[in-house]
Amino acid sequence: MTVLFDGIASGMLLFLISVGLSVTLGLMNFVNLAHGAFAMLGGYTCALLLSRAGLPFLLAVPLAAATAAAAGVVLERTLYRRLYAASHLDQVLFSIGLMFMSISTAHYFFGARQQPVVLPEFLRGQIQLPGLDIGIYRLFLIAVGLCLAFGLQWLVSRTRFGAQLRAAVDNPRIARGLGIDVDRVFTLTFALGSALAGLGGALGIEMLGLDPGFPVKYIVYFLIVVAVGGSGNIKGSLIASLMLGVFDVAGKYYLPQVGAFVIYAVMVVMLILRPQGLFGRSAAK
Amino acid sequence: MTAVLQTRNLSKKFGGFVVSNNISLTIQPGARHALIGPNGAGKTTLINLLTGFLEPSAGEVFLKGANVTRLAQHQRVKRGLVRTFQINRLFAEMTVLESITLSVCERLGLGWRWWSPVGSHAAAIDEAAELLATLHLLDVAHHKVRGLPYGKQRLIEIALALASKPQVLLLDEPAAGVPTSESRELFESIARLPSEVTILLIEHDMDLVFRFAERISVMVGGALLTEDVPEVIARDRRVREVYLGEALDG
């Protein structure tokens, strides 16, 4: 059914944005409530490049991701780094502050309304199958999401960087002792997470919307993905995102009067029953 | 004579990894009992199991004849089973006197009193002050715990436990990290404890162990290897092998 399909596409977007948060939490043990701001940055950058610079969609999106990555590197080196050893409360307060700053900045430059986006011709339209309408853009999102998910998994389990990442997660001190530049690993991982968030934000303008309130609106969703999927767990994040996407879209379609209540209730119940998430915390697997 | 502290087939597994293997230990009232063994033998884990800090995978713990396996830590403390930690767990932002007063208040059941100020509980404060006096901590009574030298902090760690007036005291490497000049003083305080108090001591300093203990248990790889009086332990070939060298004399 179309609802299911839309839900999966939505879940893919959530996965792209949330996986960075999950890895940051699992790796640096840092609670970053401002994570949505990187997605928002990607979204606005993409919108700007499309409308002002007239760039083609398939060029604007990666550039948006790169911008978010650059922002991630700068912020990580200058600010985030100082709070790795701080309490979770301090990190929360700090990231809420960053979040407020990003929201007001977006508001100042772009106004409060939803950003419109014009998708390129070849991504518009639908494929008609018996009993099922498949939006081409939705298909595109799912394809991109799956590729990146497999790519990430390969990066983490097969490459040298991935091995260094897993070592740094398990025991930063010993990793340093082995000659691994843990600081560089942290920065690169943060940049990667931000890039993916920016990508998700850019690709998601059409489905998730884009306005200055984006970081606050969606932060709970991202946290749910991390809570359910287990921090640092890529496979878990994917499954959790898909579940959440389907649940959310279906809920809004079939039970609009209940709204987001069910989502929050599910998260709370989940955290009570299994504080470590459905899939548990694992070293960026 | 009923044993004051006893375990029956006490075991603890983490996944497939057996940390404590079928430990059956009996300690008599008033004993001066030492627990030795190489690093990783599971001595601290045993104390964690005895006190309820960890839940066992199997087996039981008996305190003064009563089965306490299901009781929470603080309930065992109320029955007289108290421990110290290998790495100090102190209240860094409180003064020394405040910390000990807190421990005394808990023992006296004052912890739920929310209306009267701490300062009005003269009996508790006096008792705390006297305990500080016996441990030679009076000069730092009003200092914050955070800034004090390690030796003093170690004494505070023990003071916190003594404030609970234990009947059975489990000491986890009390002299760890303390310069030898100060560890003597520390041990004198322990030796001066009333003879009714049962003491189980984990230590690596064999000098101190042999001077203090009346019985010694040896643990290796999560299990009890042997238990006997110090002279017999000192001559036991297996114990010497376990330590791989000159830790024991004789």
């Binding site: 609670v31 946290l223 009067q257 | 006190t51 023992r107 009193r113 701490v118």
Partner: protein
């Protein structure tokens, strides 16, 4: 007169006198009274400051003293607000009854949810408290028949306080009412903070693993203080309803919880006066700056939060304590 333990020659005064009222405290409360005469046109604002200060106090009890991190404390504020509002709307307009209702409803929900909140790590706690408060917000949003939804709860009419003092347009009654409630509840909180119970909370915050080892039932203590904190927040919410005769949906919004955290960090947590001073500074700044441009306000709010966490983590009270003079206070 020095209280000494003569047997061992230790001056016990530093501990025994810890709970005595300091001159600066008297000065503070006299100022709140003087404010009535000094700023007669700003009584509505000052009532709101008193109410928010009570709310901040409630968070200090659970966060500053017991170390329970909560991203959803506004839930209790909102519950108290709606409880008082609904009570008045359906005929029982006596203010004190409304206060009691607000406190009771919030305390009950606090007690029940404490078992969820106290499970797990700090991180789980952050998410559970956030989740619960968002659930309640959504519930209030959707149950429009009950709460008025986005439009808010209207029809709140207050009877005169103690049968004598009507709520007037100039907020005179509102100010004294809020101030007296604040002072009484502050006084209770102060006694609690200096009591053995308060000492045990500080112990829990500083080293939670040590507390069971000295015989303290940690879970029970935390449930108790969480319930008390919820009750305080509920009373503050009820006060808001009664003084503004309206309940807006945003009493439960995340932004309210976030702002409260900022206030507590700004003033300094763990000493009660930090909550009060942080509220005064924050709301004064809000009053003068927010109207200029809401976006500037939110930006500088965020920037302030970032800077405080990085450079002045103990807030205003922390800075005051560093002064080498009797100005440094230790509550």
């Amino acid at each position: 007169m020095n209280q000494m333990n003569h047997r061992i020659a230790l001056d016990l005064d530093p501990l025994r006198k810890l709970s005595a009222w300091r001159p600066a405290e008297y000065a503070f409360w006299l100022l709140t009274v003087a404010a009535y005469f000094l700023f007669p046109k700003s009584l509505a604002l000052m009532s709101q400051i008193a109410i928010t200060a009570l709310f901040a106090l409630s968070l200090d009890l659970i966060l500053g003293y017991a170390g329970i991190v909560s991203l959803g404390h506004a839930a209790f504020f909102g519950l108290g607000a709606y409880a008082a509002g609904l009570l008045s709307k359906y005929g029982w307009g006596d203010p004190l009854l409304g206060l009691a209702a607000g406190g009771l409803v919030a305390a009950t929900v606090g007690f029940v949810t404490s078992f969820l909140v106290l499970r797990g790590t700090d991180l789980t706690r952050l998410m559970v408290t956030l989740g619960v408060s968002m659930m309640l917000y959504e519930a209030a949003n959707k149950l429009t028949d009950f709460t008025g939804g986005v439009d808010g709860l209207q029809g709140v009419e207050m009877q005169p306080l103690l049968g004598m003092f009507g709520f007037d347009l100039y907020s005179r009654t509102a100010y004294w009412y809020s101030l007296v409630v604040l002072f009484l509840m502050f006084w209770l909180a102060r006694r609690l903070a200096h009591s053995p119970f308060g000492l045990s909370l500080r112990g829990i915050k500083q080293n939670v693993a040590r507390m069971p080892a000295i015989g303290a039932p940690v879970h029970g203590r935390l449930v108790a203080i969480y319930t008390v904190g919820a009750a305080y927040a509920g009373v503050a919410g009820a006060l808001l309803t009664q003084t503004t005769q309206f309940v807006s949906l945003d009493v439960m919004a995340f932004s309210r919880s976030a702002e409260l955290l900022l206030i507590l960090v700004l003033g300094g947590s763990g000493c009660l006066y930090g909550a009060l001073i942080g509220t005064v500074v924050f709301m004064a700044a809000h009053h003068f700056l927010a109207d200029i441009n809401p976006q500037y306000w939110q930006f500088w709010l965020g920037a302030a939060l970032v800077l405080i966490v990085l450079f002045a983590r103990d807030g205003i009270m922390g800075l005051l304590r560093k002064l080498p003079v009797p100005g440094g206070k230790q509550a």
